[in-house]
C-alpha cells in the first residue's frame, strides 16, 4: 500500500527519499517532544561552560582546537606501509607524469593487441 508513491527502483533494490524525509521529520518531532520535557537552564558565563580538561584550564583558544594534521592517527598508522609507498609515487614532477602516461599507453597497446578486437 505504501508503494503508491513513486519509489526510485534499481536493479535489485528501491529507495523513496520523500517518504524517508517525512518519517525523519516526524521522528524528529517525537525526539523533540522528549527533549523539550527536560531542563533548559544552565549557568552562562561561569566556570561551567569551560571545556572539561581534567580540571586544568586551557590557556588560549588556539590550544583548545585540535588541528587537522593529527586526525585519523589510527587509520593512517594501521596502513603505514601503503601510505609510505603512495607518498613516494606522488613526486610532483611533470616528467614523471608524462612517464606514467607513456607507460600506461604502452601497457594498453599490448592489451589491445592481444584482446582488443573480437576474433
Amino acid at each position: 500500500m505504501v508503494g503508491a508513491l513513486n519509489t526510485y527502483v534499481t536493479p535489485s533494490g528501491f529507495w523513496n527519499p520523500i517518504l524517508w524525509l517525512i518519517a525523519f521529520l516526524i521522528s524528529l518531532l517525537l525526539a523533540y517532544i522528549i527533549w523539550s520535557r527536560g531542563e533548559k537552564s544552565y549557568k552562562k558565563e561561569t566556570e561551567q561552560v569551560k571545556p572539561f580538561f581534567a580540571g586544568n584550564v586551557i590557556e588560549s583558544k588556539e590550544r583548545a582546537h585540535v588541528r587537522a594534521h593529527n586526525i585519523y592517527w589510527g587509520f593512517v598508522e594501521a596502513l603505514r606501509p601503503y601510505y609510505m609507498a603512495l607518498k613516494r609515487i606522488h613526486t610532483g614532477d611533470v616528467n614523471d607524469y608524462v612517464a606514467w602516461f607513456i607507460g600506461v599507453t604502452s601497457f594498453m597497446l599490448i592489451i589491445y593487441f592481444l584482446w582488443g578486437v573480437k576474433p
Partner: protein, 152 residues
C-alpha cells in the same frame, strides 16, 4: 525558600536519588577501603550508583583524603563544572579536619572552606558501609523534603 522552588528541588532530588552518578576524586589513602563499594562485595550499583568518567555527567562528587594546595584548584574547577542538583561527599577525616596532616604546610585543612560539602563520612579510611549510610541519609532527607512539600 519560595514554595514552588522547594517543590522543584524536591522533584529534582527525588529523581536524582534513584540514579546517582558519581565522579570520584580518589587521590589518597581514603579510597583504599572504598574499592569493595564498587566491586561485588558491597556493589553500589544495586542502588543505581555508577561511576562516570567526567564531572559534566556526574551528580555526586566524592572527594577522599587530603587535598594539597595544587589539587584544590582542580577540585574547585571540577565542582563548578558539574551541572546542578549536585551533591558533594567528603570521605575520610582529612577533608573534614585535615586528619593526620593537620599541621602539614601544603595540605588544606577544611574542604568546606573551598566548596560546599553536603555529606561528611568520617573514618580514616572510612568503611564501605559508611558510604551507604551517607547515601541513605541523602535518601532520607529527600523523602522528608517530599513529605513536607506534599503536605502543603
Amino acid at each position: 525558600m519560595v514554595e514552588t522552588e522547594k517543590k522543584v528541588m524536591a522533584r529534582k532530588l527525588g529523581r536524582l536519588v534513584r540514579a546517582v552518578w558519581i565522579f570520584n576524586w580518589f587521590n589518597s589513602c581514603g579510597c583504599t577501603e572504598l574499592l569493595p563499594v564498587v566491586s561485588s562485595r558491597y556493589d553500589m550499583e544495586r542502588f543505581g550508583l555508577i561511576i562516570v568518567d567526567n564531572p559534566k555527567h556526574a551528580d555526586c562528587l566524592i572527594i577522599t583524603g587530603y587535598q594539597t594546595i595544587k589539587s584544590i584548584k582542580r577540585v574547585v574547577r571540577i565542582y563548578n563544572q558539574m551541572p546542578d542538583p549536585k551533591v558533594v561527599m567528603a570521605l575520610g577525616s582529612c577533608p573534614i579536619t585535615g586528619g593526620m596532616y593537620w599541621d602539614s604546610y601544603n595540605t588544606i585543612k577544611r574542604l568546606s572552606d573551598y566548596i560546599p560539602v553536603h555529606m561528611y563520612v568520617p573514618g580514616c579510611p572510612p568503611r564501605p558501609e559508611a558510604v551507604f549510610q551517607a547515601v541513605g541519609l541523602l535518601v532520607e532527607h529527600v523523602r522528608k523534603l517530599k513529605e513536607e512539600v506534599s503536605r502543603k
